[in-house]
Symmetry: C2
């Protein structure tokens, strides 16, 4: 059973929204996340239901099936492997890869993706710190929390970003926050939720609640 490019994009969006812990994924959420209209989503949900990658009862909601999960993870695997390729081999900046990977993820060739994986030395994480599912769709995810949720004096390591938009990533580049950086929370401002951190025991950094919410940390 083959999915079209559009179907793969919808399914991926549904998978991501499901993972965000939301009780259920709404038509409007999907529409917002892939910049389309709710009417188009309703139509696609019916189709995805027929293809049995989701279980769908109209007006009631949906749930990904095991098959849908497997297919979504395959697409995510391809997306993230291509991102690694673009950064590691073609020297793209981490804020330049998403749009291209969005296209490359739809190339159909099992051989290609296996060879790419080997060529990149079986990477476990993409340039944004997100885990790369293996060929069977298994993902080993690390326990990670938003920087915003850390307490004063708590230490950890930046392992991923929640937001992969160029604007956010370039901001992080500018202030010197990067994946792998060791950090410690020096202060938190009650009033606006902003945070002051120490990066690599050298540099202090102030960041808004918004920013701190989009940085994921492995605490130590």
């Amino acid at each position: 059973m083959e999915l079209t490019t559009a179907e793969e994009n919808y399914l991926k969006a549904i998978y991501h929204l499901s993972e965000e812990g939301k009780k259920s994924v709404s038509t409007n959420d999907i529409a917002a996340s892939i910049q389309t209209k709710p009417a188009s989503v309703s139509d696609m949900l019916r189709k995805l239901g027929e293809k049995e990658v989701i279980q769908y009862r109209k007006y009631y909601g949906l749930q990904i099936t095991p098959l849908g999960m497997r297919l979504a993870l395959q697409t995510i695997r391809k997306h993230r492997l291509w991102e690694v390729f673009l950064v590691d081999k073609l020297h793209f900046a981490w804020d330049e890869v998403h749009e291209v990977a969005e296209q490359l993820e739809h190339i159909q060739s099992t051989l290609l993706i296996e060879r790419l994986d080997a060529y990149l030395n079986y990477p476990k994480f993409d340039p944004h710190g997100d885990p790369i599912p293996d060929a069977f769709g298994d993902v080993r995810s690390r326990p990670r929390i938003a920087l915003q949720e850390m307490g004063i004096d708590q230490s950890g390591q930046i392992v991923a970003v929640k937001d992969s938009s160029p604007a956010f990533l370039r901001y992080l580049d500018k202030v010197g926050a990067y994946i792998g950086a060791r950090i410690k929370v020096l202060d938190k401002v009650e009033f606006d939720g902003s945070v002051e951190i120490l990066v690599d025991q050298k540099k202090t950094l102030f960041m808004s609640k918004d920013v701190a919410n989009n940085i994921l940390v492995l605490t130590s």
Copy 2:
């Protein structure tokens, strides 16, 4: 002005047929070369005419415009660079690349193709010996003739293949004919056009007219 994937495929086919020296490219030729029906071709020719990548008068024929030429060469450049990537970096066999490159050539990103070119060290030829146009669409093509057209005792070097089908390429692998091989024509059979050649001054090889017609040689 952007072309769709289908439009790029048609334009590429038209370009290739034009290059084959045919006086003019027929609707049926195009249909045959991209496995589609003449009716679909007529429809697409009208659209390509409107987009001014070809000049088209119905029932009379068509001609690629300079714009169409430029766009076709861009797609061909991408196709061939990806083929080099697949063979050189991902260790695909030369008969395994075409189908995947057929997809990859449609990825839209100028940065990607520039970086890929640099990463591959600005290759001049693809795995089948076909020249890779530069970023401006310039192709430097070598004077080459079909092995079938060589005379007895004439020497040369295999530089390309006309047919890139897996069946043909695997046959060449099997008998030990490869791009770069130095050859000399030992005998030609009048009756059926078959040829006997010496490869790398070591090995003699018999091949049918059909095979000899699809091997391109740079004579010395």
